[in-house]
Amino acid sequence: MIHCGSRTRPVLTGAKHTGRQLVLFRQGAGRTVAEALRRAAGIRLAVSSDLDGATSRTDLALGEGLLFERVGAALIHGDPDQARALVRRADPRALIIEPERYVRASGAVQPLSDAALPLRDTAFETWGLKATRALSSRYSGRGIRVAILDTGFDLGHPDFAGRGIASRSFVAELPVDDVNGHGTFCAGVACGPEQPRDAPRYGIASAAELHVARVLDDEASGTDGNVLAGIDWAVGHNCAVISISLGSPVYLGDGYPEVYEHVAARALAAGSLLIAPAGNESQRPDSIAPVEHPANCPSVVAVGAVGPSLEVAPFSNGGLNPNGGEVSLVAPGIAIVSAAPRPDLYQTGSGTSMATPFVAGVAALLAEARPAARGAALRKLLLETFRGLAAPVRDVGVGLVQAPQ
């Protein structure tokens, strides 16, 4: 029976389906089919674009049906067989008719009580590890190769003694040794040890196999060519995760760089996931800058930053440009403690650069937890493992990255 005019709201009983039918029409055929349904069965479909954005769950539950004209789809109340027969009569060329499913965020996590905020560094872990639940994870990234493309690395840092580290410099006449400190910082957050010599734990994937490609000079600047060469090297070394805490600003309305997108897509196909910072050009609340290059490529995970109260960092860029220019998710990026080149050993820093290796480290844990998940599958898993935040998707994407438990 088709429930024309039904006011019954679907009840959440653990059932997989809502009792409504999801119909995919040919592009542009939506209004015609809606009119045919009205004539054939008296079903009146509301049109989503006519509702002035009021397509809340309540709206969807109470109507006879709803037409999403721009995407060529509709929701119709009723029994699947009868709905299918009616839709086929109205539009023999309708593409798909299937029951609407309940959906939920996977990777459900324990909510953090407001009383715990702001998070603070303790004797045992930095606030970033607490926020991402890295310390309680049973995974350590063992067997997973993580590449850090940056200003190099202090290969003699005592916290990394005994770790087999593959390294190569792509900057002419400069060794891998990190003078700037940014690369050592990022490697520390992604792959720092379980027990640092003289600091709280600051690294996530403590048993991952670290690969370091130097692509930036001592002033932390470089060219696309060096970065692309570093990606090529990391993909060739079967790195499941490639963290590149660098970028260059883009402008409102800019598209993504095509060469990078080709490279990122090929890296995904080869089993390597690229993760890059959203950028620090915003000055919230006054202005928000768009996600920068190369994080604005559709095949690259774009990372924004939050502070210890899980608030959006004032500098963190937002998802203003479509088609890849969105923020994928966020990670800790204010007052982060990590490794520094000798003799300092430790340093604090802020930026989406600092947030990016948190996501890289968690991606390594996920790769260990799900050995078959590489490339696009790992990216999907990463974006399903989050804690929702009370902030716009524009600023935080799916939410705060979370380590698998």
Binding site: D121, T122, A123, D150, G181, H182, D198, A199, P200, L216, A220, S221, G222, T223, D224, G225, V227, L228, A229, D232, V235, G236, S245, L246, G247, S248, Y251, L252, E258, V259, H262, V263, R266, A270, P277, A278, G279, N280, E281, S287, I288, A289, P290, H293, F315, G318, L320, V337, A340, D344, L345, Y346, Q347, T348, G349, S350, G351, T352, S353, T356
Partner: protein, 107 residues
């Protein structure tokens, strides 16, 4: 609240240069024959410096005037002028070891 950054007229990419560094992505089906694409690009003026075979990219430099010709070559998917990149960090404070040591000492 404002969104985005206004592009200054003076910041059009490499407008003052006649020869520019470029990255060239070949099409997926050409990755196995990237040397042939490189040869074709060299014939059109590319000074070819390196091949990233794993990701299907050629690096080099070219006269600005030759860029449109490169873009029309068969099996060339995209040609872009290389840009400067830099880290995305704000203040980094070294010598945080005192604070780190103090935290550890509080165990």
């Amino acid at each position: 609240m404002t969104y985005g950054i206004r592009r200054p007229r003076s910041q059009r990419p490499d407008a003052s240069l006649s020869r520019v560094k470029v990255a060239i992505a070949v099409t997926d089906d050409a990755c196995a024959h990237i040397d042939e694409v490189a040869a074709a690009c060299r014939r059109l003026g590319l000074e070819h410096t390196s091949t990233l075979a794993g990701v299907g990219v050629l690096l080099g430099s070219v006269e600005l005037a030759d860029l449109p010709k490169l873009r029309t070559l068969p099996r060339v998917a995209a040609v872009e002028i290389k840009r400067q990149t830099r880290i995305c960090a704000l203040a980094v404070r070294r010598a945080a070891q005192d604070r780190a040591a103090a935290l550890v000492a509080s165990r």
